[in-house]
Point group: D2
């Protein structure tokens, strides 16, 4: 009758769907740290004897050593990291191990472990983001005056500098770091002591355990403490947005590396060949960075979906919080390292960039601004006149700077030859020295300010 589709029947299915040790073993260090803090507090509160406490700490330290050495046997039938460690503790120290779980539950234990893991990951990612900013700043400094075409709609818009362009990403990554920092600050209250959901009648001291684990305070509501996965969702949202930024940068690397653009070159370190086309030098790393936004967005959706409509307090559904977070953290760390690598590796093709910046009537706005500033035309009218000039230039197949004065005057008689200054791309770039603008001096000032802010 039983289809037997799943060899082993109900028991095998239940073990497979229920066990989390395959992935939550990654929390082992945090689980042991949490248990040590809990144990020390139980002793201090005289809920445990000093002897039991010492035995437990010793046992936990030995387990950590076994795991570090790769000698620990993780067993699926013990479900999760908590029971695997507790079972080993019992083997090592006997019945005293059974006293460790006093005044706590797996519900507050896993919330504590996972918060500690996310917190540590945020710190690591923050470092990787700082390293990416440093790489961007170095390249931006080297190319603070390297002219390139600025695009909107991927159409040539106005000349900018390569350094200025890279600095936009320094800003984005700066906000990403801010978001992760806010997430870290907000997650930093300690669930330990919430027990199953209602708190405990044992005279525990939650301030002590919170402090021992580096938390700012104990969580204020025990039901919330065990039902809350905000920190994981907020981390995933920050990661998804950071990944979106990296996907934009990666797209630019791919486009810039294409033959028609040829704006940058990547070395063999970040490109690969083809199994069939011997000439290929594919920007695989950039493409994979771009693609991994998918994983990041998907992870965020996964956890939001899991949490939708869950009644309080702990539901087993929440065990599905870890894989999306682990996968997203790994993907983001890898993407940050790859981007840092590509930034340091890329060689802007200065001549090609300059040549592209002169095409596409990139100084048309400068011309319009000149008409406003020098001739006093209202901007809308200046815009109109410039449009007519561009049209004439297109007809003649000439750049703006190559258009004879007589042609300009045929459209707007009061134009003088002083206008040609405005059509030079270096002057154009240098003139845009409003705060945040692309003038090389502005860019250098922005680099200095960013170094001060982000590279401590």
């Amino acid at each position: 009758m039983w289809g037997g589709r799943f060899a082993g029947g109900p028991a095998a299915i239940m073990r497979r769907i229920n066990a989390s040790i395959d992935f939550d073993r990654r929390l082992h260090a945090e689980d042991i740290a949490g248990s040590k803090a809990h144990c020390a507090m139980l002793v201090a509160q005289r809920i445990l004897t000093a002897e039991d406490g010492a035995a437990i700490i010793r046992g936990l330290e030995q387990i950590q050593a076994e795991i570090d050495a790769g000698d620990f046997l993780f067993r699926e039938e013990l479900e999760d990291i908590h029971l695997n460690i507790e079972a080993r503790l019992a083997e090592l120290i006997g019945p005293a191990a059974g006293r460790l779980h006093t005044a706590r539950s797996r519900n507050d234990q896993v919330a504590t472990d996972f918060k500690l893991w996310v917190r540590g990951t945020i710190d690591r990612i923050d470092g990787a983001m700082a390293a990416l900013q440093a790489a961007l700043l170095d390249q931006a400094e080297a190319h603070a005056a390297t002219v390139m075409p600025g695009f909107t709609h991927l159409q040539t818009a106005q000349p900018v500098t390569f350094g200025h362009h890279l600095m936009a990403y320094v800003e984005m990554v700066g906000r990403d770091r801010g978001r992760l920092g806010d997430c870290r600050r907000r997650l930093n209250d300690c669930p330990l002591g919430a027990a199953a959901l209602a708190g405990t009648a044992f005279p525990i001291d939650r301030d002590t355990t919170a402090a021992a684990l580096g938390f700012d305070r104990p969580a204020a509501n025990s039901l919330d403490a065990v039902s809350d996965r905000d920190f994981a969702v907020e981390f995933l949202a920050a990661a998804a947005l950071a990944g979106t930024h990296l996907s934009r940068f990666a797209e630019e690397i791919v486009v810039w590396s294409s033959e028609p653009f040829g704006f940058i070159k990547l070395s063999d370190a970040f490109t690969t060949g083809s199994s069939i086309m011997p000439q290929k030098r594919n920007p695989d790393a950039a493409e994979l960075v771009r693609a991994k936004t998918g994983r990041l967005d998907g992870s965020l959706v996964a956890l939001l979906t899991v949490m939708k409509g869950l009644p309080l307090a702990y539901q087993k559904d929440m065990q599905e919080d870890k894989i999306p977070v682990f996968e997203a953290a790994d993907a983001l760390e890898l993407c940050l390292a790859a981007c840092e690598g590509m930034v340091r590796d890329m060689r802007p093709q200065i001549a090609r960039l300059r040549e592209a910046a002169t095409r596409g009537y990139s100084t048309a706005t400068d011309l319009a601004d000149w008409l406003v500033r020098e001739l006093g035309l209202p901007f809308r009218q200046a815009h109109h006149v410039t449009g007519a000039i561009v049209k004439r230039a297109e007809t003649l197949g000439l750049d703006l700077a190559a258009l004879p004065l007589v042609e300009l005057q045929a459209i707007e008689p009061t134009i003088t030859k002083a206008v040609y200054d405005a059509l030079d791309i270096d002057r154009s770039v240098a003139s845009r020295n409003s705060y945040g603008g692309t003038a090389p001096d502005r860019v250098r000032a922005a680099i200095a300010a960013a170094r001060k802010r982000y590279c401590r």
Copy 2:
């Protein structure tokens, strides 16, 4: 200068982000099957000699045997399953191995492998869905006349039968199977021979390779053949919707298992205890099924996001297609097995169901219908009268069936005592014998029809 954050620098980063062998090794059987078909065709077309062909086939079969035996060493530096197998083939048979890649590329190779994998997975999942339907049908048959409250808005609406309720899921799963079948049919054209993107100048015979691999035809456009991941997205969409159905069923199991409902009992096979609360019997399997919708939805979003805005033809981004599909397929298979298991395991609490069905004025619609049918009231007026009667019953704290005739007549004087027949829940259920309705005979007929349709 180089931050050194990623030990090993660019090379290590690139290897980590670029290599896919960790996950695409799962395609080994499909890859070998594809290579064998390609090789046989090359020989038949005289592109390869018979000797080389025979050596290649022998080598591939040995590799398959090595993998089956767990003796094959997958190497990260060889990037992916294709190069791992080809490198081993070269070790085994020498330079002839280098002739196998004639007239193909990794681009058409991986598309073929992955289609074969998805196709096989669809077949396996279809079987699991059929098994779930069989379990539902068995339970539905056993409870075709077991009365329970039907809910809308989780408010008692009208009595239905437990079997009728389960049959709704047979319908849903039936549509899921239909969707997967359509996906299978649509994916079944063969990319092999598209080569890198443009087809090939070698005189290959794509019909032969397509047929050898069980495809209906070769893919019609070589650019599309290597850029297309529709089959994976469509599979994920079908899986997400199937998972949504299972999440609904899982939610019902959780709610039905709660103490206030007490509609069903699950055995220990599908429940677990608590580390702190000794009395608990938690429906973990159901909760995890409900939660895994998150993974499924997230996988779908991941791949849709990856594919957004990718120019033709193959982009490395598309390597990110496999993990979401593998994870979703595994999650769905596990959920189907768990649901089948729970359906067979659940014991409906017949007395509790019946008792609940009598509460909540569940036969109010029957009363309204009686007023229409027997007294000729327009439905809207009957609805109004019934509302007044329910209100009176609430005030008196009585069920409808317990309300004295005089009370009924105070509201609608023409009501006779024949009305009480309409208020009986068994009669209510039996009366709803419109096609698709909850009358036990209808339910049994629906079960018979479904067995014929779904259980071949």
Copy 3:
């Protein structure tokens, strides 16, 4: 005490959150059609008198006329389209209006209406997709032999033809039409008669109403019939994937329109200017098509999220099904029209395409294939030799075709001057005449086959 944040208090909040008339008025024609079919059946089954039936039909037709004329007053306090129409019917024909709701509920009514709407929308979108295919086929035919660089990783790979490239999209849209067709076929069973959730005791004839409304059959389970929104999810999934295809095409239009590529030109009809930069001609329509994938993916996620974990049968949550479907349908129709427009509008820049196809060592694969075919090298060795030749050409700053024979022979002594034939891009393209390949004759054959299949 009541914050009064929402002027009007609970009543206003409830009306705002509960009423759907703002958006479900869009279902008016379907609602009236459903009511007419239901009414006719009630009369035929003698549940309604012929007089009442005639009055109801007359009333419904007048309401349709009022709506068509813009004279119908939709009222928020009547919640939804069903009650708005029924209330107006009562004004027009008196108490007989109250008999129409016999043996049905809003639950089956709205499911029927919405299925009818989705079905009609699928038909309309199928037409728009056919029109897009027709436009692609016309352009493909005109440029079946126009050579352009084929890209993988946005790196020049091999020469292909513009027509061949466009034909990839004909394939994608063909699959999209297939998916929508499958969705249409699967949705086409009729919920009417499921009533609230349990069926009805009235002697209705569901086959008649199903047939009258163009359904293939009545839905088989009344609980499922009112709880099912698969058709909407499946439509959204098909729309999201179709939108993904269009986003890929839109990306290509944006990249191709950029100054460095310059592969196509769009007329003013599909580009816009800038408020500040007078020279701009931005491919806004393509960018918006690319962006609207966001709306489509978001709509799919929205409805999947809504449906997650909903117990049977109807839940008010399901009212949130319409806005995502309406928005997605509108977005997709608009994108299809814009793409058709852009395909017809675009002018491939033939000289630029050809010139780009000669760069990037695009015939390196042809060289490798020549070494295999003419010199008998294993493909892997040929690939290696070609790589060395490309490297030499790069060092000398020459195209492959411009490399002196002596240079070639320095790397592989057996190469003869016959090799230069293989390096010509027209010959390269013509040689790839495997099924699905880029050879112009193959492309023309593919166009003919597609016209036959898709343009009836």
Copy 4:
């Protein structure tokens, strides 16, 4: 030839896809405020004359008055809110209107407008969240000692108080407010003056405009300023998580309102009837709150998808930022108001809650803890003993408190009758007075602390 599917051809399609006035008119007040600040700065910097400046300000104020009065004609052919206002300004004050656009672009203008709108919306939503917290606090205070069953896995776990349960939501909403506050702080640098993408050569003063519009500072990089939509994504992520919290609360309301639970009653203000079942009182508002998570998650996915892989700087894709934000903001505001309303409206059914709390062996943990505390058993052993006792109680069909001492001692001989104190639900609740626990005094202290923190 042109399919004519879209009446009006390319022009109509382009207008429909390109125009944003239908939705961005919602930014009118922000657009006018931005223009006034820009104008005042231009005058102060002597880029505009005082006369022109005064005319522009007067004109803008008149336009605001016209919009407020409903007299302003929004025209689709003018595309967006910016051009609609500028065109009207030209009608009102003549050519001087054309000087307003000096040193700015629509790119920095729309970024500024939209940031102002999101900032104002955050403030409004923060108020609605504070109001919801106030309502929760009032109910929590009234029911700080009302005993109910606490659930994990929807299985009875331990007794808690209704007030304690509600306070979990006060915490969640508190974090939501924190996230929105962080988003507000981070978004608060001003894009105005970034111009199209490169800054401007006019001697503008960005600090002045930033201050005038309530920003903390001007944005530091002009390319980033116009390409950044982080603030919108971050707002949507915060909204999606807030909506997830509300969906959990809504789910609880739905479950608690069901007949088998009967934990709370909602008045007619937040429930509705049925068109067919006269007895129904459906928690529609709660269901719709639960459902609107779909809209919120979908909006987040929509914008993340839009932004994926966009090169710098402004792309027209970014016009698709507004609809998801508008829809999400409206949905969230409505849901907050509905939840506040339901919290104030709900009447906890005290007797039913208490009765439910006594069932399900809810004090089993208290028994285990008693065995640890009083008999010195290790927790794991105590857990085991308690499990045996529960099993015995189940067999006898008795509650724990009703189990004779002899039965207890048959399992653990050292148990004394003092144990019965631990089995009382009021004592159980009172005993859990660890920080954050459910003891009524703790709950009251938590309420007081939350009032201080959140209700200023």
